[in-house]
């Protein structure tokens, strides 16, 4: 290294370095940037969405029915240890669900109102943006944010990215915690998951495939006095029930300012 650097050497070395560094620049073009795209072009061919009537869902029987139906449909384990519990659909208080919408004079009763929460199957999902293996991705055909449990490496980056705490990680083997019947069978044939992967609500993609409604929707709407508490349909269809409700009633969704475009709406 003792020879004097000529200008040519410097130019040669620097361009090699710039070329090397510049090789990383293309990734910038692929960092999502959904907001900059044409609104009409982004999103999927179809977009499943859900509308939850918060007033009707005050009935604990509704919320119990939802959670139970989901648990049985998907063999969800019941883990008591705090911090390890798995939930796909559950409820939290209004104050926490709509933290950006309440103020110090919001009536206590509203603040304490339990609200059903689940994965919002966002139009612009941050979890999909960060997953390093595409183990979670937004399905183009119907907009469901899917999980591929075969591919998930359990890095939990998606959980850091989700603004709704909608995802659960299997900190342990779930099978010992899944309720079985007298013959040792699980509530359904849906594959259980293994320790080390992340899971969340999948809008009952396997039921939709057979033309059925999601389990929670079907169960909740059967609770006496709660017909229509959960509406589910295709947002791209202007005649669907969800489109109709959204056009006619005042609805809210969670943390709108973040730009994730959640597809679960709440009639408050």
């Amino acid at each position: 290294m003792s020879e004097k650097k000529s200008r040519r050497d410097f130019l040669r070395d620097t361009s090699a370095a710039v070329l090397g560094a510049g090789a990383g620049l293309p990734f910038l073009a692929t960092t999502g940037c959904e907001q900059l795209q044409d609104h009409n072009l982004r999103g999927s061919e179809q977009q499943w969405a859900m509308v939850i009537d918060v007033e009707k869902a005050k009935d604990p029987a509704v919320r119990r029915a939802c959670a139970e139906a989901c648990r049985r449909e998907h063999n969800i384990p019941v883990i008591e240890e705090p911090g390890d519990e798995i939930h796909w659909i559950w409820d939290e208080t209004f104050e926490h669900v709509f933290e950006d919408q309440v103020h110090e004079h919001t009536p206590e009763e509203l603040m304490e109102t339990p609200v059903l929460v689940l994965c919002n199957h966002c139009t612009n999902p941050p979890c999909v943006r960060v997953c390093p293996t595409k183990a979670t991705w937004k399905r183009e055909s119907d907009g469901i944010v899917m999980m591929d449990q075969h591919r998930c490496i359990g890095c939990r980056y998606c959980m850091a990215a989700c603004p709704y705490a909608a995802r659960s990680f299997n900190w342990r083997d779930p099978r010992p915690f899944i309720e079985t019947d007298s013959e040792g069978n699980f509530p359904s044939e849906y594959p259980t998951r293994r320790r080390g992967v992340v899971e969340k609500c999948n809008f009952c993609a396997e039921r939709l495939r057979d033309g059925l409604q999601p389990a929670c929707v079907e169960a909740a709407n059967q609770v006496p006095g709660a017909e229509g508490v959960l509406a589910f349909g295709d947002l791209t269809d202007p005649d669907s029930e969800v489109s109709r409700i959204l056009a006619e009633q005042k609805t809210m969704s969670r943390r709108v300012a973040l730009g994730t475009g959640p597809n679960v709406y709440y009639v408050v």
Binding site: D84, H96, E99, Y157, T260
Partner: protein, 388 residues
């Protein structure tokens, strides 16, 4: 050249023995984690990253800091760093290895890690982090081996290594930038989503890395005849001083934005760290210790008489490393999850298993570092007498 690692006295082999025992303990603990699942750690559905990812974040900075010696020496022919550069590259190799190991032990399905390579996802920062870390490891191994081998033969290094060395400079900056990008692009986590996160990472990296290098250089000087030189050590101290000053400025800037705007979302995290949030104050003593160490070390380092005093400098270096370790290794990762998106505050404390695995990974890094430095020292000690 590698056979030089086998020539050593009793103390050397005893040190390797210590690392080996710690590694075995870590392996056993990781075995517990692998068979039972990550439930044996202190992480929960609300705090999904803990000590492993925090150590990775801290060590990426140390790894990147090799650029602080490489740049002056190779780009500007700064001769004083002649015998320091190889130590910096050795530290970079050991640090990057530890980074990759810490990520590996944090995975829920470690056997599937190769999926990141099989299904490259260009929009995921974690994919780019893996590429950057892997590439940096290869770069530093190559550069270190080739340049050191050339020196050993008293010959100039081959011409083709020069562009690779130049490449390692922006690459070093990129590994820590992409790690910052892991955090700073998440709209869900307001504590992390700040543009200054990447600059902060770099500033703290350029303080903690060279500080560790100073300590290592002084240790090597004490136990062998290899001497990187007083001038190199003092100049590293100067780099640490300025980097710490910039780091303090950056922290101050963050505090201003949060406190002056008085926005709950921005303030909550700092409240949690420095005074406690809704009664959760486990990290408060840590953060104030870190703040004291930071201010004390930056003030003392900026005083030339103290900084240049090589009897006091080791303590300042330890202070800097501890301060940055508290800032990134303790305070940064967990706080991103406080409060959770649903307003919950869940405390996190690493379990015994987690700490054993952590110590085990550190031991792997220090084992590699010991081996690399032993090779350097052994080869160099012969060179003092044999090179023309």
């Amino acid at each position: 050249m590698l056979e030089a690692a086998f020539r050593g006295g009793k103390r050397y082999w005893a040190l390797l023995g210590v690392w080996a025992i710690l590694i075995l303990m870590g392996l056993w603990a990781w075995g517990q984690q692998y068979t039972q699942g990550l439930t044996v750690t202190g992480m929960t559905q609300d705090v999904t990253w803990g000590i492993y990812i925090a150590q990775f974040t801290f060590l990426v900075g140390v790894a990147a800091s090799a650029v602080m010696v490489v740049l002056p020496y190779y780009l500007h022919n700064h001769r004083a760093f002649g015998r320091m550069v190889i130590l910096g590259e050795g530290l970079a190799v050991a640090s990057v290895l530890m980074c990759m190991l810490f990520i590996f032990v944090d995975m829920g399905q470690p056997s599937r890690v190769v999926n990141v390579l099989l299904h490259p996802t260009l929009n995921s920062m974690m994919f780019w982090d893996m590429m950057a870390l892997g590439g940096y490891l290869v770069l530093n191994l190559l550069i270190g081996a080739v340049t050191f081998d050339a020196e050993r033969r008293c010959a100039p290094p081959p011409g083709w290594i020069k562009p690779i060395i130049i490449l390692s400079i922006p690459w070093a900056v990129s590994i820590h930038t992409v790690t910052a990008f892991l955090y700073s692009g998440l709209e869900a986590r307001t504590f992390w989503m700040t543009a200054i996160l990447a600059p902060r990472f770099l500033a703290s990296a350029f303080a903690s890395g060279p500080a560790l290098l100073i300590l290592l250089a002084l240790i090597i000087r004490k136990f062998s005849r290899f001497d990187p030189g007083d001038q190199a050590i003092r100049q590293l101290a100067l780099i640490v001083a300025y980097a710490m000053a910039v780091n303090v400025f950056f922290v101050g800037v963050e505090l201003f934005t949060a406190l002056y705007s008085d926005m709950p979302h921005h303030i909550h995290a700092f409240e949690y760290l420095y005074v406690g949030l809704h009664g959760h104050d486990a990290l408060v003593p840590w953060m104030w210790t870190g703040a004291t160490l930071t201010l004390a070390s930056v003030v003392l380092l900026l005083i030339p008489k103290i900084r240049n005093n090589l009897s006091i400098l080791p303590f300042l270096a330890v202070g800097v490393i501890l301060a940055i370790w508290i800032e990134k290794g303790v305070g940064m990762v967990v706080t991103g999850f406080i409060p959770s998106p649903l307003g919950r505050i869940t405390d996190y404390l690493p379990t015994g298993v987690e700490m054993a695995v952590t110590v085990g990974v550190y031991a792997v890094g220090f084992l590699i570092l010991t081996l690399i430095y032993k090779i350097i020292v052994n080869v160099r000690e012969r060179m003092i007498t044999s090179c023309p």
